[in-house]
């Protein structure tokens, strides 16, 4: 079953020309797809199309999820500084009309699930970068989305934190198995996170490669040093290099 799909979409921006396409992508339910590509290839534009936040200039976007069933995690935690962590996480529910007490209770649960049961009343400014990103993740998961879109969510974090978060995202994914799109420019991260890595060419982005990663998700310990992992990283890197030259 397809959760969302881009069908030969093209996006032109006034003054900048074409940013994306023609580009097609099908997102089956329960699958994690990574989008890798050089800066300016239109990864984030593709993500916004999938989220329904933007319309393509040409082509069609098909989306199954209804209101509140799509969640986005941005590069920055994007938390409201005037709200506590709990209120930030409860926000999507409250916007959808969930009663305040129920929304707060589910927010507390979601914060527990991302490993932060102790920060309910903390403000974003009091959190570390990694913790703030986890709160952002909790906010995305609290609505139990069918489609989870992650736009370079770990880009601003240190290596240890991003590895820990990568494993946590995969662990969280196993409970409800939403379709996930993970945008990154880090090839190893893409191979680690996704069962399918879609490589984009330099902007305006088109498909430069489509690599399946056949290994169990979440990843077993030591997956990064297995020959299979290295092989996939090389394949994706090769496609990426070709796409940048094209």
């Amino acid at each position: 079953m397809t959760v969302a799909a881009l069908d030969a979409v093209e996006v032109d921006y006034a003054g900048r020309g074409r940013a994306l396409g023609p580009f097609s992508l099908d997102l089956p339910a329960g699958e994690i797809t990574a989008l890798v590509g050089p800066s300016g290839c239109g990864k984030s534009t593709a993500l916004r199309l999938l989220a329904g936040l933007e319309q393509p200039t040409r082509g069609t976007v098909r989306r199954a999820p209804g209101r509140g069933e799509t969640a986005v995690v941005f590069q920055a935690p994007t938390l409201a500084p005037w709200l506590t962590a709990q209120a930030n996480v409860a926000l999507p529910l409250e916007l959808a009309g969930t009663p305040r007490s129920e929304a707060r209770a589910r927010a507390a649960e979601a914060l527990g699930a991302v490993g932060l049961p102790q920060v309910l009343s903390a403000r974003p400014v009091q959190l570390s970068g990694g913790m703030a990103m986890r709160v952002s993740l909790a906010r995305a998961l609290v609505t139990e989305p069918k489609l989870l879109l992650l736009d370079e969510p770990f880009a601003a974090l240190d290596e240890i934190t991003r590895r820990a978060l990568a494993d946590d995202v995969l662990a969280l994914w196993t409970t409800a198995k939403p379709a996930v799109v993970f945008v990154t420019h880090n090839v190893e991260e893409a191979v680690y996170m996704a069962s399918r890595v879609v490589v984009m060419t330099r902007g305006p982005g088109r498909i430069g490669g489509d690599v399946r990663v056949d290994a169990p998700l979440p990843r077993p310990p030591g997956f990064r040093v297995t020959p299979a992992f290295r092989e996939h990283v090389e394949t994706v890197s090769g496609a990426l290099a070709q796409g940048m030259a094209a």
Binding site: G52, R67, A76, T78, A80, P81, P92, L95, R123
Partner: protein, 255 residues
């Protein structure tokens, strides 16, 4: 630099300047109506303390009333403008014209409208005109200052217009509103003093009138005493507003 030294330094400088002033007056034998020595100013300050304090309170009360009026009008208009971009286009030039017109130039008109018997009303109105712009400008900027990704999040979850305003744009504007009110309060005091000068009437009994009155009688020491009170009033107000702004920010951001 330790804390004690930081407090003492400005006090020492002021003390030295006053000493030099006193010594210069004694050495040059300047007439007291041109430049009285600080000791004479201090004596006048002590003798007229009740009148000066009452006048300072009148000036402060008028400035605060003006601030309240300006705050209400500026925020209401900013909200209206925030909801309608076309209204913003319409209002902007007028607001700018209002801001760049010197308050002394419109004061005579306002004094006429307020009626010769009600100089306080004219003073409050003029000080409010001066205090209006920083609050309006801060509010308009603040309402647009929300993180664009947070705006996208509100799109994503299908937020209604009122939800977006109450839960995103208004709270995001708080730091800008605090800053706007801080600047506006200082301007309101200046506006109240300038307006009282222009009104040129004793009806409002503010500090400007004390200065005018003493000047007309060549009581120069009393002019300085009123100026000193005005300076202290301004500095105290500034300090209080700084503290309020810091508290406000801490409440808003949690640190």
């Amino acid at each position: 630099m330790n804390a004690a030294l930081r407090v003492i330094a400005p006090v020492v400088l002021i003390g030295l300047l006053l000493l030099a002033w006193e010594a210069a007056c004694a050495a040059l034998r300047t007439p007291a109506y041109i430049l009285p020595p600080p000791s004479a100013v201090a004596a006048s300050l002590a003798a007229d303390a009740p009148t000066l304090l009452r006048s300072a309170w009148n000036t402060l009360a008028m400035a605060l009333a003006a601030l309240a009026v300006a705050s209400l009008l500026a925020q209401a208009l900013a909200l209206a403008v925030g909801l309608s971009p076309i209204l913003e286009r319409a209002v902007r030039p007028l607001a700018v014209v209002l801001q760049v017109t010197p308050v002394v130039a419109i004061a005579p008109l306002v004094v006429i409208w307020a009626g010769i018997d009600h100089p306080q009303r004219a003073i409050v109105a003029l000080a409010a005109v001066v205090a209006f712009f920083p609050i309006f400008s801060g509010a308009v900027t603040g309402l647009k200052s929300a993180d664009p990704d947070l705006e996208r999040l509100f799109d994503l979850y299908g937020a209604t217009r009122p939800q977006r305003l109450m839960r995103l744009r208004l709270p995001a504007a708080v730091p800008f509103l605090l800053e706007g009110h801080k600047v506006a309060a200082g301007l309101a005091v200046i506006g109240a003093v300038v307006a009282e000068f222009v009104a040129g009437s004793g009806g409002a009994q503010g500090l400007a009138w004390r200065i005018l009155e003493a000047g007309n009688r060549l009581q120069t020491a009393k002019m300085f005493a009123a100026l000193a009170v005005l300076g202290v009033l301004g500095a105290l107000l500034h300090a209080v507003l700084n503290v309020l702004e810091r508290w406000g920010i801490r409440w808003w951001r949690g640190r």
